[in-house]
Symmetry: C2
Subunit: 200 residues, 2 copies
């Protein structure tokens, strides 16, 4: 065993990061040791500070260091439209597009009966209260078009349709820059069915 | 600006890791916040402990938490053969192959006159003392076959040839699993020149 003690622990902990396998974790660990000690300690401190200062927004579950989060407390945002996402990260990605100016609600997970993830685990009671309290009129379901995303969207649409005026989901189709040759037949079939006038 | 304060700092610090760009750093940061707080704190603590417990071996410069390192202090290893590498990580990679049972010496850098990296920066005086003191007989140069690696190897070969019996470098040629079609012409030319009998 070459990697032992603290170094083995560090590699083990780094491997829990998304997209980091054994080789990258080793490379990162050695990098942290090899370079400026201050740089590595800054990263450690930065992780600690961030984790200790962030929590889930009491209103929408978004990760935040304020209470409520900057989206919930922003009076310039439309308050009767909410975009429902799976992860906090999705909020950052949507914000980067600048296309949406309403509020958010973060589910944290998608429904998955086989894994024992039911409505309570995706904060459904909290979502329902929020919709009633804030008199939400429109809901945008920005969930992945995966099996779990689809079933979560259909659950939410069924349960919430009587509470709001409009429930929409993000468009499905060919991604820009994608190549039809490498597109799944499900995507292609859907893209045919949902084709739209070139003048739109 | 969506990412601010501690979160922006964390992303900035994560981006200094090898192979981590803006998108991965954001994903990692959100992951650290989104998951178990304990897991993130364990990573922070692990970085801190490792950095504080590791240093360069006084003999060979290898990163180590013992003094001297486990390679220098291992009496079962051949003591008159040293393998010279650029990074501590290279030692781990070579150890994984199990092909080498001698000692190591880590240069830390390669010679690069344009960047002001000269013999002192690659611990050349320390290396020379080591070779004389330990009566080293064979040196294996395990450096990258890059411009800087080549010039470092030729510098070391010239300076050390009178001190030892044998100086070799790692074989150059086609990598196993590689494809001739995607091999550089320099590699291919070298592979022709250094071709060997199939019976070897």
């Amino acid at each position: 065993m070459i990697f032992q003690g603290y170094l083995a622990d560090l590699i083990h902990n780094l491997k829990k990061l998304p997209g980091v396998g054994t080789k990258s974790a080793r490379r990162m660990a050695i990098h942290l040791l090899d370079k400026d000690k201050e740089e590595a300690l800054a990263l450690a401190e930065s992780i600690r500070q961030t984790v200790e200062n962030y929590h889930k927004c009491s209103v929408c579950n978004m990760l935040t260091d304020t209470e409520p989060c900057i989206f919930c407390s922003d009076e310039n945002r439309q308050s009767q439209v909410i975009c429902i996402v799976e992860h906090s990260q999705d909020v950052f990605l949507i914000e980067e597009t600048g296309v949406f100016k309403g509020k958010y609600f973060v589910l944290g997970k998608l429904l998955s009966p086989l894994d024992g993830i039911g409505p309570d685990d995706i904060y459904f009671p909290k979502l329902k209260n929020y919709i009633n309290r804030e008199k939400i009129r429109e809901i945008i379901l920005a969930l992945n078009p995966s099996a779990e995303g689809e079933s979560t969207m259909s659950f939410l649409a069924t349960e919430l349709e009587n509470l709001v005026e409009k429930i929409t989901r993000l468009a499905t189709g060919l991604p820009f820059g994608g190549d039809i040759e490498y597109t799944s037949s499900l995507t292609l079939e859907n893209a045919f069915k949902r084709r739209y006038s070139v003048k739109e």
